[in-house]
């Protein structure tokens, strides 16, 4: 089990579903949703949240700054 894990929150209404974060993720955490937001765009979501390392690559390339990345050490380790 990984000692450090990350997670990503998405500002769903700001996301335009460009998918740049999906290809930037080295651990294939992100995917585009099947649903759409208020503007009709599919939005980024964590399809595989356990693999997230909190590297923030997705947020660095996000043109609309709608991703926020958190990272934490395992409190049980």
């Amino acid at each position: 089990m990984a000692k450090i894990k990350g997670t990503v929150t998405v500002d769903v209404e700001k996301c335009k579903g460009c998918g740049v974060c999906v290809v930037a993720c080295p651990t294939d955490v992100l995917a585009l949703s099947k649903e759409v937001n208020g503007k009709g765009y599919p939005f980024a979501m964590q399809a595989n949240p356990d693999a997230c390392t909190g590297c923030a690559n997705c947020a660095v390339v996000c043109p609309d700054s709608c991703l926020t990345v958190y990272r934490q050490r395992d409190p049980n380790a």
């Binding site: 460009c18 998918g19 909190g54 923030a56 947020a59 660095v60 390339v61 043109p63 990345v69 958190y70």
Partner: protein
């Protein structure tokens, strides 16, 4: 044992800088402008220059840049951003003045103003976003359009005999003595974006130290103008733009210009 990462401010590693406004950007999905705006805002925040920065926005897609970053802005006439920035910097030398221009603005209609501002060595930063097309008006051929590239006004591809050659204004201005730093970056990948941010920081530091003009070209994609998806456009840019517009530092002046 599995655990859930807590969403707390202590655990936050990366998020939107407070210098960016809450407005949703009008750019198309995946447009490089958004990423470049973000990097500019982050560098200004890290340098603590929010109250001292004046941006000059161009005519083009990024004409509304003033809606997105919480600093002082001037919106210049088409192509004249460098001339306006010259005045802003000379009248308020303690300010950090930068222009943010596209290729249609800087290298087409604004060539004269841009080259002369470079030649005078104004202590400003020029951020030049080159997507090889006129994005705002619907994807017409720009001076920077690659040979063979199809656009709305060159449907058979750009041909040198008819349309001339694409030109590299970064290389042109690097020959001028007033320019202290010329670099070409891109923001399509995390590594490239981090490098571009370092280049922007270097440029802003040069401007504050009075070393002369810093010219930062950002090779960027225009997925709607190129009629591709954002991810494909980034890939197309890597395969076709980068061999012609080579990334990296073009000029780094070690000595400050003579007074």
């Amino acid at each position: 044992m599995s655990f859930q990462v807590e969403i707390t401010p202590e655990n936050k590693v990366y998020g939107k800088t407070p210098l960016l406004t809450d407005n949703v950007m009008h750019y198309c999905p995946g447009c490089s402008h958004g990423t470049i705006h973000k990097l500019v805002a982050e560098v200004i925040e890290e340098m603590g220059l929010q109250d001292k920065t004046i941006g000059v926005s161009p005519v083009g897609c990024s004409v509304f840049a003033y809606n997105y970053i919480h600093i002082d802005w001037i919106q210049a006439a088409h192509g004249r951003a460098c001339a306006v920035a010259t005045a802003a910097k000379r009248l308020t030398p303690e300010k950090m003045v930068f222009t943010y221009q596209g290729d249609g603005d800087l290298s087409a209609i604004g060539t004269a103003e841009s080259i002369h501002a470079c030649n005078r060595g104004e202590n400003i930063v020029v951020i030049y976003v080159n997507n090889a097309i006129y994005g705002m008006t619907g994807g017409q051929m720009a001076p920077t359009t690659l040979l063979g590239m199809k656009t709305a006004t060159s449907p058979a591809g750009r041909e040198a005999a008819i349309h001339g050659y694409p030109y590299k204004i970064a290389e042109i201005v690097s020959m001028l003595d007033g320019v202290c730093y010329v670099t070409r970056q891109s923001v399509q990948s995390p590594a490239a974006a981090r490098k571009a941010k370092k280049a922007l920081r270097q440029a802003f530091e040069n401007a504050m130290a009075g070393k002369g003009l810093s010219f930062v070209e950002m090779v960027s994609s225009c997925n709607s103008g190129w009629k591709q998806s954002p991810v494909d456009a980034n890939k197309w840019m890597e395969e076709n733009m980068f061999p012609f517009y080579k990334l990296g530092d073009i000029k780094v002046a070690t000595e400050p210009k003579e007074a």
